[in-house]
Every structure is written in C-alpha cells, then in structure tokens.
Amino acid sequence: MPRVNHQKRSAIMGKSDVQIEDCSGLTAREKPLFSGSRRAMAPGAEGVVFNIQRFSLHDGAGIRTLVFLKGCPLRCLWCANPEGQSGATEIRYDKNGCIGCGACIDSCPEGAVSQEPATGFTISKASCRACGACVRACPSGAKSEWGETRDADEIVDIVKRDSLFYRHSGGGVTIGGGEVLFQPAFACEVLRKCRELGLNTAIETSGYGDWPWLERIAEYCDTIFYDLKIVDRHEHRRITGVDNETILDNLRALDEMLVSRGTDRPLHLIVRVPVIPEVNADTENMAAIGTFIRSELHNTSTVELMPFHNLCEQKYEQLGRPYLLKGRAGLMPEKVEPLKKTLTDMGLNCTIMSW
C-alpha cells in the first residue's frame, strides 16, 4: 500500500488533528457505534431529519427525493452537509435573511444570543439549548431549526407525493445525511415502507456503523452509494476523525451480499470517492482505492468520483462554525480526469459526477 505524505498534507492544511476535532464540537470517540446508540430503537420510531429534497437527479436512478438524516460519527474536513453532523437539533442563523430586529435576543431564555458586529445575532454554542424560542420569534426565518423529529410515516407521506415522477423515471427515495447508520432503525423503517410502495430505494453511507444494521438496511435497498475516502488507516482517522477498519469490513461484507441477493431485485453497490484537493486527490490514494476494490471486492466495479466543491461555505457560517477549507476553489471535473484514468486503467467502471 502506498504511503501517504503526512508532512505535505499537514503543511497544506496548516491544521492539526486536534483542530479538526475541535471544529466539530463532537468527536467520533464520544459517539459510540450503534449498538449502544440512543437511536437504535424499535421500528416505527421517530428520527431526526434535517432536509427533504425533491427532484434530485444525481443520487440514484431517475427523479428522486432525498431524505437527509441528522447525525454522523465522521468529521470529514470537507463535509458538504455540516448541519448533518450533530445528531441534535441545531439553530441556523442566516445573516443575509436577517432584518436586524433583535427579537431573537429578547426571546432567548438562556441569554445565548448576542449582537456581534461581524457575525450578526450570534448564538453562543455553550449556552444554547436549541429550544427554538428564537426561531419562533424570528419574523424572517433567518433563525431556523436544522433537524426536526419526524415519524417514519410522515417521511413516507412526503416521499410518495412524487410517486408518479418515480414511476416514469425509475426513481424513488435516497436516504443520506448525516449518516444513515446513525439512525439505523429509523432509516430501516422508512426504507421498508418505501419498498412496500414499490419505490426504488437507495442510501448514501460512510459505512461507519454496525454490520447487523447495515445488513438489514441493505435488504431494503436497490442501490447503496458507499463512500471510500482513503485507504490508509491513519490518514483516514486524521481527516475524518474515525478509523476505517469498520468501513472496509462492512464494504467487503456488502460486496458479498450482492451475490446472495440474487437477480430478482439485485442490489447495486457503487463506491463513491470524494475527491478533495491536497487531501486525497492524488494518484497514490486513487491507486490504493482501485487496488482495494480489485483485490478485496469481487462483485463491485463501479466508482463515482465526486469532485470537491465549496457550495457549503455558507452553511458553516450559518452554524457558527469554522470551515477549514474556506475559500478553496471547487475542483473542476476535468481536473479529475487523470484520477479517473488511474481507476479505469485498473479495469474499473468510473464516472466523474458533476457538482
């Protein structure tokens, strides 16, 4: 396995592991795997969802509705959905939508909101309990909640509204996040019900979770988009906050499942690689990924490269969190061609996804 140049990366990022974990407010070590998670609950239970996006065209076949579950054990540097990391409801503050009325200051029982010259009506993370008083007081919607507890049936009701578009397009539902395996019972229940309705089902996952849950969830999926960021274990830990041993194990297990699933309603497994400049966008890492797929997976050969983009900057601001890649230019898909070639040369079926 090719060695990664740690020194080079650290110099580029100018940040150490500690700061990565600091910026998240929640480290992977604090969050156990799911056998002990409070979200490992009975089917039919509620879950925390931070977004439902209809007419999505890039996460599975056809026209889809994406359901974003809140909470993720990973703390990837480039995370495009930082509002999905914490499992709890968070208050979002959109400074651009703020009319400066100050209603949020008056409404907060904790005195957590203060007016700052640079950042507007800022929420102190330390004192905020996310009670939602400021959200209710805010007239313009500049303060809003990220994360809402919802019943699986409610989610399915929304998903099925676009049924006729799924029928024409072969689309359906994709559950992402956050991390699907952070709320596995809830995810399982939503998928099961969607499946009962005959919808095409998919998940996007980091693979970091308990295998028994993933196995159950996979039973209800037509497609799994499985993130494989970096093969080197230490490097993985450094840039995501967690070890990749579980991730790789789960991926191997899923790959074997493809065979046992049979051809009646086959499971599609697609490896997704976020391509982050100066983090994992080097041919060594790509070759390592290719090698892993070729040598350890026997039924999987499709890889989608997801070039880095910076469309999420605003969300970090709205969460009041620093973003280590702030100001970095997005990666134009054509720049990723050499990496694609590395994989296709290894016999893999590789696509570069647009932003």
């Binding site: 209809r54 007419f55 890039h58 994406l66 919607g141 509204r161 676009d162 006729l164 578009f165 397009s169």
Partner: protein, 803 residues
C-alpha cells in the same frame, strides 16, 4: 425518421434574418387610404364588400419579393420584418407611438422620416375608424372608470386593472382556420361553393348573405391572383438568374404559385406554399396577433407521404423545405404600443404550429411530419413560429423524447399541451368530442377547435390581484385614489377568513361582470365595422351560413375571454391571512392592514412573517393549494355567469404573457409580503423564490386546479439548469418529468433551460448574445431585446436543479 440538421441554405437564411431590423411598411395604409379617400370604388358598396375590395387591391398592388435562397414565397410587407399599418381598425391610435418607434426604450423599429410624414398625413383621416374611438362612446361610466386611468380625458391609457387589449386593435386574431379544406379544393373550390350559396341567397333575397358572399368571392380571387403574382415574379427572377440550380428552384416556385392557393397543391412544397399564402393573407386582411397555422402535421402530411412514396422528394430535402417554411414566420412582425410592449415584449407574434396529439376519432396523430416540425424548430432556433406539441395517453415515448430534445436546447420552444385536460375542458364547453380532439393551440396557452372556431379568444387581462387589493380596501383603489370596486366591508372588521374570501370573490365577480359587458360591446363593433370575409372563407360554416365569422358564421362562437394575472400572489396572500391572522393569531387584521397601508414601512417584520411563516402555492402543500383551487373555482364560476355576443360561455385562463409586470405596477402592498407596485407572478406559476420544493411539486400544485373550467389556458413556466437535463441521463429525467407533469394534470408547461449566470452575462454584454432565446410567456423572444424588468423577471423565475 432520422432528424436532418440545417443545410447551408437554412443556416444562411437564418444568419441573414438576424441582420434584419424590425421596420415599418406603409404601403398598406397608402393603398387603403387611396381606396377609401381618393377613389369612388367602394363608396357605394356595402362595408363588407369594401373590405374585400381593399384586401384585393392590397394584394394586387403591394410590393412583393422572393428572398435569395428561399424556397417559399410570400411576405407581410415590402421587406422582411416589415410591419404593415392597419388604419381601418387602429385609426390614428398609435400615431404617437409611430413617432417614437425609432427611439423608444425597446422593441424599436426602423422607420424613415418620409414614411412617417406620409402616415402623419394619412392617419388623421382614419381617426374615427379606431375601434377604441368607436367603443368609447358605447361604454357606460362604470366601464370607463374601470378601464381608463383618466376616463374623462384620455381613452388610450388603461388602468392595468383590466383591459380589452388585443381585440381593441383588430378583429381576427387567435384563429386557426380550415387550411385542410383549402388544400383539398383550392380557393377556387371555395369560390365555387360561395357562388352556389350566393345563388340561394339571391333567391331568398338575403341581403346580409349576399353582401358577405360577394365579399368572399372577391377575396377568393384576390388570394388566387396573389399567388400568380409570385409565379410571375419567380419566372422573371429565373430569367435573370445565372445559377442553374437556383433558376430551377425559382421555376419550381413559379409552378407552385401558379397552382396554389387557387387550386389544390400537387406536392408537399405546394402544400406548405399554399399554407403560407393563406397565413399571410389573413394577416393582410386584418390586424391581429396570434394567427395559427394549426395542425400542420395533420393536413400537410398526405402530400409529404405521397411525395416520399413517389420518389419526388428526399427526406432531407423535405426537411429543408420545412425549415424554409419555419424561417418565414419570424419575418412577420407587429407593432405594439410601448405600453403593450411591456405586456408582450420581444416582438412576439405568437404564431403557433401545433403538432402531435390525437385524431378526431381518438387515435394517435403522431407521424413523420410531427417529428420533422420539431426538427425544424431545432434547426432554425428563432423566436417564431411558436411550436406546440400535444400529448395524450397514447403519445409515443419517442415523441416526448424528441420534444424534450428540442426543449433542452433552451430556445423556449415548444409548449407542451396536455390533451388530458384540454379535451374534456372543451367538451365541457359544449364542443363535440371529435372537434375537441382536433383542437389547435393559439396564442400562448389558448386552444380552440381547429377549422370551426370564430377565433379571437384573448380578450385582454383581468388583474386578479386587483380584486384582492379592492377587497382589502372596501373597493377603494389605492393607486388611482378612487372607488373602483364595490363595497365589501372594512377588512379591519373581518372576523373570519371566509369573510376575506367572500370579499375577494365579490370584487372579482364585479370586475368580470363589467369586463363581460364591455367585451360584448366590442364584439358587436367587430361585427359591424371590421368583418373579415377572407378568413371567413375558410372557417366552417361561414359560407354555408352566409355569415362572416364576426357575425356568427362559425360553428363555434366563443367570445373574447379574460386572462387573469396574479394567481399566485392572491393565493399566497390569502394563505398568509388564514395562517397568521385566523389560525396562529400572530397578526390581527388591523395590524396587517396598517402594515399594508404603510407598504410595510416600519413593518418589515410583518412583511417577513408573511413571507416566511405561511405556506406557499406551488409547493404541493395542501395548506396553500386548497386556496388556489378555491379562487380558481370562484373565477370559473363568475365567468360562467356571463355570455358572449353569440350566447357562448367564456374561456377564462391564466396566461399573463408579460402583463404580470405592468399589472403589478397598480397593485398596492399584498399580504404575501409583496411590496406595492412590484411585479405579480406569471401565468399560473408559483411566485418567484418560493418554489423551494422544486418542479415536481410545482406541477402537482398546478395540476390540482380546475383546468377544465379554465379553457382559456394557463401557463406553467419552469426554469431548469442546463446541467439538470444534460446528457443521456438528463434527457431521460427530463422526459420523465414531462410525463409526470402531464399526468399530474397541468394544462400546459414550458421551459427555460438556461443558466442565470448566462442571462446575467447577456445583460452585461448584449452584443455577444443577440441570438439567445428565452421563453417569456406563451412565446419565445430574444433575451437582449426584452425590457429590463422583463429580463429580471425571466432571471427570477424559480430555477430548479438539485445536484
């Protein structure tokens, strides 16, 4: 059938077209003036015969040309993109406008000083012919007050509360006459029918019929001779032509023009040549927009099929001919007042070609020519003609795919029409099922039974938001500072949501009542002053009945119909009132009215709450969509209470063209947070910026409305990022979206597939984007030629791409 791309000829004709500037041709005014004021020829003739004689004289004397390289002959004026002048219905109404044509803000024309001076001489003589001048004394005080900004002194400047609009300038637009019969029997065949019918009329001593039929016969000969003039010209040009190929083409054109439209066409080229002559003819006869060629793929197909089978033409050559035919449409042109240019900016003539759909006996109508018409739109990519494609349950997937291929080019073409809503809607209006199945699109989103409809369906606009503005001010109009609506009570004292809706409904009902009265008066004026015997020759059953179409000769005689503007603003406003005042109690009616009357000054928090804390129409949210259904039901029920001149119901609709901008300028602050005098939402589309659930939700919301009641048609504008529909997968998803939207039950849908960034760039560097087309309303226009507010409106339309 494979799609053949544009040939070098087609590319060259298009490139040349882009160099033409819109211009004015005064020949028509000169010829009419001479006939009516400087000769005795029509003095003793009945009015309708005079009109026919004028038409004949015009076709006999006006300048004609055949463009280099064109395969189709015939034009509106003496030069490409020339607009003729119509003194007999417009009078001198637009004289002020003509003076500004070369300098006004947008939609400018080339116009020489000498020609303007001549018009200055001619038009004052026609002052009393202006339909507006004739209608004005007929209007009662209430009508004048509602229609005119300054009812005492100025009969031109409208209120933007509502208008009669299009029919005030001319009599015969929005019509799809019977091309098929003309192709079958030729105009000499029509003439023979008219002569036979005239014999009977003489026996019966039926004066009206005699006059009409005499006029019809004159018109039949006039159009026949018009063709022959082109035959002569083509032969002349052939003599002087040095290039052998072109000489042969000119001789073919000559042979075609000798044959049609007097006699039935023998070839596909002659069939479309005949169609073009008729299409030019109806626009020579009378000023109007929105003339339609109708179902070209149905009536011209047998000729194509015969040529192909007989080996007389290759598929590629047939495509080129059709492309040449398409390239004739943008040459035709209209002058709008600057005011109307706000409503319909970008030189739209809204000339429709309608393809696909089903046959009168309910079978799929798609054929090779259907696909070729779509291909022609792909090949020519100009603002005209407006192509419409009809879909029904039996439309082949290939048709949806081909149509989406065109739509994703971003030219704004075509409109997708949904037979599932249109056909039952027309049947509900009393139209026979086979005629309903045989409908054509006209104008923007209107439809009519092909060949049998009197035409002229767009009867102007009703400001839907005004009904709410009045309901919130007890009938007072804040901008005009006068009582406009009826007394429906002080809104501050309303104690239930139902009272608000009732006040709105009563105000709307009142507006529609006044509108209907005025529109019937205008219908009478059309009948009495500007009959159109030429087009009546090929509208069923004018000849048999011995009646002009304006006098009830057609099989179907629907009146002008109102287009309402501002649906989404009204729905979102009512939704916000229900939620914030009557459900959540966050606001009181008093507090709301204070904020509205201050145009939200000092009440920004109220405005923000109205926008942020209430559901919005267009998001597939039943909490707003139920109100949309309710107000549409009120609109339909209120229009159904009234009848046109011939006792028919109206075709109400929501196709605002771009009237949502000027109509917004007269409406004060609304409870959806829209500030005073800002634009309203277009068509039946959601308000800009609120479509957060995306295009599937928008289609589902719009599909819930009673489209069968709104047979005037409703436009849904969807803007998509090019990336969303790119590549094979993108096309597949686009096709699926369209199928889903049709199944969801939209009446019509059209797309702008262009990046906002590109539009911004085009605003900054107009010179580089002269051929950038966008969809405005039921028509496409060059983006850089649009007024700035309309450019902003197009950019703002909710853009959908989730990646």
């Amino acid at each position: 059938m494979p799609g053949f791309g544009p040939t070098a000829r087609v590319e060259e004709l298009k490139t040349r077209f882009l160099t033409y500037k819109p211009n004015v041709c005064i020949e028509r005014a000169r010829i009419y003036h001479h006939l009516y004021f400087q000769s005795e020829e029509v003095r003793d003739e009945p009015l309708i015969v005079g009109r026919a004689l004028a038409f004949a004289k015009l076709l006999r004397e006006r300048t004609i040309y055949i463009e280099d390289g064109q395969l189709i002959a015939g034009s509106m004026g003496s030069r490409p993109r020339a607009f003729p002048i119509y003194p007999e219905s417009v009078g001198d109404d637009l004289l002020d406008e003509y003076r500004k044509l070369t300098t006004r803000a947008f939609d400018r024309f080339e116009f020489s000083d000498a020609d303007l001076m001549e018009l200055e001489e001619i038009l004052p003589h026609w002052h009393d012919s202006s339909l507006r001048q004739i209608l004005f004394p007929d209007m009662d005080a209430e009508e004048k007050k509602l229609f005119l900004m300054d009812p005492e002194n100025n009969i031109v400047k409208g209120t933007n509360i509502f208008s009669l609009d299009v029919p005030l300038y001319g009599p015969a637009g929005h019509i799809t006459p019977d091309y098929q019969t003309v192709l079958e029997i030729g105009f000499q065949g029509i003439k023979a029918r008219a002569e036979k019918r005239l014999g009977r009329a003489r026996q019966d001593n039926d004066k009206n019929a005699i006059d009409f039929l005499r006029a019809a016969i004159i018109s039949c000969d006039a159009i026949t001779d018009f063709g022959k003039r082109y035959a002569e010209l083509a032969r002349q040009m052939a003599k002087e032509e040095t290039d052998a190929d072109r000489r042969a083409e000119l001789l073919t054109i000559a042979a075609a023009c000798d044959q049609v439209p007097g006699l039935p066409p023998r070839t596909f080229q002659e069939a479309i040549q005949a169609t073009w002559f008729l299409f030019v003819g109806i626009q020579q006869e009378a000023f109007q927009r929105c003339y339609s060629v109708g179902r070209l793929d149905q009536y011209a197909y047998p000729y194509l099929q015969a040529d192909l089978q007989g080996g007389r033409i290759s598929e590629e050559r047939a495509q080129e001919l059709l492309d040449c035919f398409f390239l004739k449409f943008p040459e035709t042109n209209y002058i709008n007042s600057e005011y109307y240019s706000h409503i319909a900016s970008g030189f739209p003539s809204q000339q429709q070609i309608c393809v696909g759909g089903q046959t009168p006996d309910g079978k799929d109508a798609t054929n090779d020519l259907t696909y070729m018409c779509i291909q022609s739109s792909i090949n020519t990519r100009l603002h005209q003609p407006s192509l419409s494609v009809r879909f029904w349950e039996g439309s082949p997937d290939a048709l949806v795919e081909k149509t989406c291929e065109l739509a994703r080019l971003g030219t704004g073409h075509p409109s997708f029409f949904n037979d599932r809503r249109v056909v039952p809607g027309l049947v509900g209006k009393g139209i026979a099922l086979e005629d309903a199945r045989d409908y054509s699109s006209v104008g923007c989103a209107s439809v009519q039974p092909t060949r049998k409809d009197k035409g002229s369906q767009n009867g102007g606009y009703i400001n839907f938001a005004a009904a709410l503005d009045f309901a919130l001010h007890d009938g007072w109009w804040p901008l005009g500072n006068r009582q406009m609506g009826i007394k429906t009570g002080n809104p501050r004292e309303f104690t239930s949501f139902e009272e608000v809706v009732e006040a709105f409904g009563r105000q709307l009902g009142y507006l529609i009542g006044v509108y209907s009265r005025a529109s019937v008066k205008l219908e009478k004026i059309h009948r009495d002053r500007v009959p159109t015997p030429f087009v009546s020759c090929f509208v069923q059953d004018c000849i048999d009945r011995g009646l002009d179409r304006s006098a009830g000769g057609a099989v179907y005689n629907f009146g002008f119909s109102p287009r309402a503007v501002g649906l989404a603003d009204v729905v979102d406003s009512l939704t916000a009132i229900r939620k914030l005042v009557f459900e959540d109690g966050i606001l009181t009616m008093n507090g709301l009215m204070d904020a509205l009357d201050a145009d939200f000054k000092g009440n920004e928090h109220v405005r923000q709450m109205l926008k942020a804390k209430a559901p919005h129409y267009g998001n597939d949210d039943p909490r707003a969509d139920d109100i949309a259904q309710k107000v549409v039901d009120i609109y339909v029920a209120e229009t159904n209470r009234h009848r046109s001149l011939f006792g028919e119901r109206f075709h109400p609709g929501f196709s605002s063209v771009s009237a949502n901008i000027p109509y917004g300028t007269v409406i004060s602050a609304l409870p959806n947070g829209r500030q005073a005098w800002q634009s309203l939402a277009d068509g039946c589309s959601p308000c800009h910026y609120v479509g957060k659930e995306g295009p599937t939700a928008a289609a589902l919301s719009v599909g819930k409305l009673d489209h069968e009641g709104m047979t005037g048609g409703s436009i849904l504008n969807i803007k998509l990022m090019p990336a969303a529909v790119a590549g094979e997968t993108g096309l597949k998803n686009f096709v699926s979206y369209v199928k889903g939207a049709l199944e969801a039950g939209v009446w019509h849908v059209q797309f702008n597939v262009v990046d906002s960034e590109v539009l911004r760039e085009a605003q900054a560097h107009a010179e580089k984007y002269s051929d950038l087309l966008v969809r405005v309303a039921g028509y496409s226009a060059f983006f850089t030629g649009l007024s700035r507010p309309l450019q902003e409106d197009v950019i703002d339309r909710t853009e959908h791409c989730r990646c």
